[in-house]
Amino acid sequence: MPLDIVITTGSTAPIYRQIADQICRAIAMGELVPGEQIPSVRALAEQLVINPNTVARTYADLIREGALEAQKGKGVFVARRRPVFTKAERLRRLDAVLDAFVNEGIHLSFSAREMCEALERKLAELIPTSSEE
């Protein structure tokens, strides 16, 4: 049950987001399974040596987003249903990774067409049925 989270101070990402991202990644990778209990706010705050209010805030965000769920008197668990983000939140997250992709592409002197082709190739590999839907 100890959660393997590493936080970095002096990063451009605030600590609450670093924790949220790592929990979401652990869920996506199957390292955390639905129904699994995660450390209490206090335990994680003491493990990471950070303000407990920050952990509480992260958990509250993830519970609102549906990634975690709180069970009264028992603790916080990985949600059994898939996390549901709002449309705005999904767009925001997509935009963030798109920015990174486009910036890196431009930096490596790829044209817009080449980048689109690369993206389509990747999508075809990963989601082969998407075009038939």
Binding site: I15, E46, N51
Partner: protein, 314 residues
């Protein structure tokens, strides 16, 4: 009960002709961990000493746990733990003597907590205080501050002079101290990494004046950085509201701006740049730009008027 454990109004202090604290309206909310930032000599220690009733203001007022700082009853003082700057100790005392001495002043004394904190700092109880390392001394001071289980902790630059291991012990002790729910901690520091780990709210003092008071997150989101790329040399900048730093390079301009509005973005778009990108900024960069921006250094008078650029005072 009281929402604020500390509240000052127009707090001002002169030492002779020298202005040390000016018109400070500070509010520290119950239950928060409050980081007090500012360069050396900006008035942090003086402010804390006035709040604690150790020093009188020249004018203005300060309230601590609902009482006037100048008239604190002993039972209210007992609810406040104060760690003075520099980890002062009585050199001849051993841990046992220090505990025996200090505990007499307080109605409550938690021996277990006292020893837990000493263990965090690996203090050998047999050492006399004068032979302790800086970190051990800090541990002893902190143990003595925490053992009375105060509702409010005021730590004046507790990390000063500590090596990384002792610093971590300090932070561990602070997190441990929050086990008592509803406890408020106010600490001053120059270490942005510690502020980032511990503080949920901050106040920034600069040249005796409060420059910002808000949640740490608000501070981060209010200070934004933009990189503008041009085909040739960047143009001369028009006045931009909230601009605190401008670093021109051959074909780029890096601008740090507070409280960006739609108008600010429109102004940036009109500069004729090929690209206007917002780049993420670290807390340290945000702070350094905010406090020591090149433009600001050149025009301190203008900034002295803008007391709360970020956040607001309730």
């Amino acid at each position: 009960m009281n929402d604020y454990v500390i509240r000052t109004e127009h707090l001002t202090r002169y030492f002779g002709a020298k202005r040390v604290v000016y018109d400070l309206n500070l509010s520290v909310q119950h239950g928060s961990i409050f980081g007090f930032l500012g360069r050396n000599g900006s008035g942090k220690t003086t402010t804390l000493r006035i709040i604690l009733g150790l020093l009188a203001p020249t004018w203005g007022s300060s309230r601590l746990l609902g009482y006037d700082s100048q008239e604190l009853p002993p039972e209210v003082r007992a609810r406040v733990g104060y760690l003075a700057e520099g980890h002062p100790v009585h050199g001849w005392m051993r841990v046992k003597d220090a505990q025996a001495y200090q505990s007499r002043f307080y109605p409550k004394w938690n021996r277990e907590l006292f020893h837990t904190v000493l263990e965090f700092f690996r203090v050998d109880p047999k050492t006399r205080a004068r032979h302790m390392s800086r970190g051990e001394r800090a541990g002893l001071c902190l143990a003595m501050t925490l053992a009375p289980e105060p509702d409010l902790l005021i730590l004046d630059d507790p990390a000063i002079g500590l090596d990384p291991v002792a610093r971590r012990s300090l932070l561990e002790s602070m997190v441990y101290a929050t086990r008592q729910s509803d406890r408020t901690i106010i600490f001053s520091s120059h270490l942005l990494a510690d502020i980032e780990r511990m503080a949920d709210h901050i106040a920034v003092l600069d040249y005796s004046v409060l420059r910002a008071q808000c949640s740490l997150e608000t501070f981060r989101s209010c200070v934004q950085q933009f990189v503008l790329r041009f085909e040739d040399a960047p143009p001369k900048l028009p006045p931009i509201r909230g601009l605190i730093q401008c670093i021109p390079q051959a074909k780029t301009l890096r601008l740090t701006i507070v409280n960006v509005t739609r108008d600010t973005r429109a102004t940036l778009q009109r500069l004729g740049a090929q690209a206007v990108d917002e780049t993420p900024i670290t807390l340290e960069d945000a702070f350094v730009s905010y406090m020591g921006g090149t433009l600001q250094a050149a025009r301190p008078a203008e900034f002295a008027g803008q007391t709360q650029v970020v956040g607001g005072v309730q």
